[in-house]
């Protein structure tokens, strides 16, 4: 791939039915494109679901993929976002022996907090723009996180 591979966010509204997800991901895998993250959830009070796909690729290929996505029978709408609000959540497990007030303060700076306390471990969550979540995950490395789960991005056009 010699062309610029920029990060792109695509939202797809689809009928909520079996096999629809593989129809969509096939379009990426068939072209050798990787999906960075993908979230799906039903849209309330409708038969549709909304997917948010984060990927990277050349303008030309992404344009082609969005057209092909639109061509799939169960796809209602495809948005390739330019101006959008993006959020992502992460859950992180820390040993309880770490400095909990430090961790809590950091989480608060990223719209989060400690959400669960166990015998040996605590679980904290943050929710912010994907770029900021990434910064947070770098910053907390010193507190020996044992497990990290990221939700993948969700996005809405402004």
């Amino acid at each position: 791939m010699t062309e610029n591979n920029e990060r792109r966010v695509i939202s797809v509204i689809v009928i909520n039915e079996a096999s629809v997800l593989s129809r969509i991901t096939d379009l990426f895998s068939g072209r050798g494109y990787n999906i960075t993250s993908l979230t799906v959830a039903p849209i309330p009070e409708s038969k549709y679901s909304r997917l948010t796909i984060v990927t990277s690729g050349s303008v030309r290929v992404i344009e082609q993929i969005t057209k092909q996505l639109h061509k799939l029978i169960p796809v209602l709408r495809v948005y390739e976002h330019a101006d959008l609000v993006e959020k992502e959540m992460a859950l992180i497990k820390f040993p309880i022996t770490e400095n909990l007030s430090d961790i809590n303060t950091l989480c608060e700076a990223y719209n989060g907090k400690i959400v669960n306390v166990g015998e040996n471990m605590i679980i904290a969550m943050v929710s912010d723009e994907p770029k900021r979540v990434e910064n947070f995950l770098t910053a907390i490395k010193r507190y020996n996180p044992k497990e990290i789960v990221r939700s993948g991005a969700v996005a809405l056009e402004r």
Binding site: V14, I15, A18, S19, S22, R23, D26, G30, E63, Q64, K67, Q68, H70, K71, I73, P74, V75, L76
Partner: protein, 564 residues
């Protein structure tokens, strides 16, 4: 009425006006075959391989303009059919293919003859369904026929587990299709159409680039009208042969890798490409950056994903080409055909410089002569199918096509073994025409079991085998680009094609001379049974002109000129 899933399939076919089904039975589809046995509303043609069933349905669909229907069983029945599905998908052929599946309770257990059929067909069909409840079957079948034959046509696959075909439910086919997410755009944008017509009026060297979409849209006669009223020269793609008649003054010829010199030069010199139902395939464009380099592009297509996919369109028009051409005809006053007089002369000069021809300079018959001769003798009376390779290109170059749906061939996927079964479908759809399949000694062996189908069903397809004892097209590339290293393309070891046909109950001829060929063709037509006419042709003949893969259209290898 309360009927089984299997009966629903039959009732849906009848309601859709299906008169011919191609297929092959097996365990998982037996309930449906039991219902086929009980009915007499449509004919079932038993092919001898599932791939052939799909190709036959394709031939039927292409010749008739209706949806082709095929039925197969699960597992190997389905996987055998995949090549056919992919072929139909590439060439936008409307099909409904019903396959059996193991019972719901066994899905995912590695059951006997189980395969994830919808998982496989997803990437080579327009749409597919796994039916999990017979209640859904009427809707799914109705949607399948609608989706197959609307918008950009294509194959739709319906996979039905065996227990679903046994399930009894209410059948009501009188339902409205309501697909909120699928609404093909058939009407072109009037403002874009107006702008496109202005661009045509202002162009000095415009060129029609006619594609197979015109045939799918049944728009050939509107396009003929449009071409004649504008006086603009036209090139056809391989898939569009027959849109204009071969003797049309404005038809330059086929363009692309084996296009005529004049067509490829016209495409390189034009200042406005008017693409109608064509998709800028790599075999057509050659090197993209050099393709119609100085031209604006009007691109009319039903499929938005085809527009600006490879070549940027200055005037993109999404719509059914028939509607759009009719709208353009309403604005025809803008265009003055006299303006293109000198451009027409230029194009004619290209053609005089290097006309499409061949030399009769060998002891053996030339394949191009055979094709031209059939054209002279049968012309419009025959429907022509081909397999894939050199003979296919020569057929497109030298047969005098003069109507749409006369030429049936595997363009996009290039499937060897397509021609014979497709010709069976063509003959089933148009029994009044002679069905000729031009094939090669390589291709014919890929579905020669269909001799049995042809004999049983009395489908007298005439297969003209242009035998050069080579896998000719690959041999040509090896000769030209691999320093004559003819790896695995020498087919000197061959069956006796005459006996092969006779073994199945067909007739066979082996011919070496023009006289023998004429006599064999005449005899085959009179006898009216399936025939192999094996023609021993010149072994080393190349298809010319040729644009080497990835080269620019104007850089053609040409037939050497001979002084007579």
């Amino acid at each position: 009425m309360q009927i089984s899933g299997a009966q629903m399939v039959i009732e849906a076919f009848i309601a859709e006006g299906v008169d011919t089904v191609f297929g092959y039975p097996g365990g998982a589809i037996m309930n449906v075959y039991d219902e086929i046995y009980k009915q007499d509303k449509f004919k079932h043609i038993l092919n001898r391989h599932e791939q052939a069933s799909i190709h036959a349905a394709e031939g039927y669909a292409k010749a008739s303009g209706k949806v082709g229907v095929a039925m197969i069983t699960s597992g190997p029945g389905f996987t055998n059919a995949v090549t056919g599905l992919a072929d139909a998908y590439m060439d936008s052929i409307p099909l409904v293919v019903v396959s059996g599946q193991v019972p719901m309770s066994l899905i995912g257990t590695d059951a006997f003859q189980e395969i994830d059929a919808v998982g496989i067909s997803r990437s080579c069909t327009k749409h597919n369904y796994l039916v999990t409840d017979a209640k859904d079957l009427p809707r799914i079948l109705k949607e399948a026929f609608y989706i197959a034959n609307s918008g950009r046509p294509g194959p739709v696959h319906v996979d039905i587990p065996k227990d679903v075909t046994a399930q009894i439910e209410e059948f009501n086919y009188d339902i409205e299709i309501n697909l909120e997410t699928y609404k093909p755009h058939t009407k072109g944008n009037p403002r874009q159409i107006k702008k496109a017509m202005e661009a045509i009026a202002n162009a000095k060297r415009p060129l029609f680039y006619l594609g197979g979409g015109i045939i799918n849209a049944n728009a050939a006669y509107e396009v003929r009208d449009f071409v004649h009223k504008t006086g603009i020269p036209a090139v056809e793609t391989f898939m569009a042969r027959g849109v204009l008649s071969y003797d049309d003054d404005l038809l330059i010829g086929m363009l692309g890798m084996h296009g005529s010199y004049a067509s490829n030069m016209a495409m390189s010199e034009t200042d406005l490409v008017i693409a109608l139902g064509a998709r800028f395939d790599d075999r057509v464009t050659g090197k993209l950056s050099e393709f119609a380099k100085n031209a604006g592009v009007i691109h009319v297509d039903i499929d938005p994903a085809s527009i600006s996919k490879l070549v940027n369109a200055d005037f993109p028009i999404v719509g059914d080409v028939k509607n759009v051409v009719n709208d353009m005809l309403n604005l025809i006053d803008k265009v003055n055909s006299d303006n293109y007089e000198s451009w027409r002369d230029t194009v004619n000069n290209f053609d005089e410089l290097h006309p499409l021809t061949f030399h009769e300079d060998s002891d053996r018959l030339k394949p191009q002569w055979v094709i031209s001769r059939v054209g002279e003798l049968l012309g419009d009376d025959a429907n022509i199918s081909t397999d894939v390779g050199q003979h296919q290109m020569w057929t497109s170059q030298f047969y005098p096509f003069n109507r749409p749906r006369q030429f049936i061939s595997s363009g996009g996927l290039g499937t060897m073994g397509f021609g014979f079964p497709a010709a069976l479908g063509v003959k089933a759809a148009t029994p009044e025409k002679i069905s000729i399949n031009f094939t090669g000694d390589g291709s014919i062996l890929m579905n020669c079991q269909e001799l049995m189908t042809a004999v049983e069903q009395k489908l007298p397809v005439i297969n003209i085998i242009l035998n050069n004892n080579f896998l000719g097209m690959v041999r040509q590339w090896q000769t030209l680009f691999y320093n004559k290293r003819h790896a695995e393309t020498d087919l000197s070891v061959q069956p006796d094609f005459v006996k092969l046909s006779e073994a199945f109950g067909g007739i066979g001829y082996r011919v070496h001379t023009k006289e023998e060929f004429d006599a064999a063709l005449k005899d085959a037509i009179e006898k009216n049974v399936v025939a192999f006419i094996e023609v021993k042709v010149e072994r080393m003949e190349n298809v010319m002109p040729m644009v080497p893969a990835g080269g620019s259209l104007f850089n053609m290898m040409l037939l050497e000129k001979k002084e007579k």
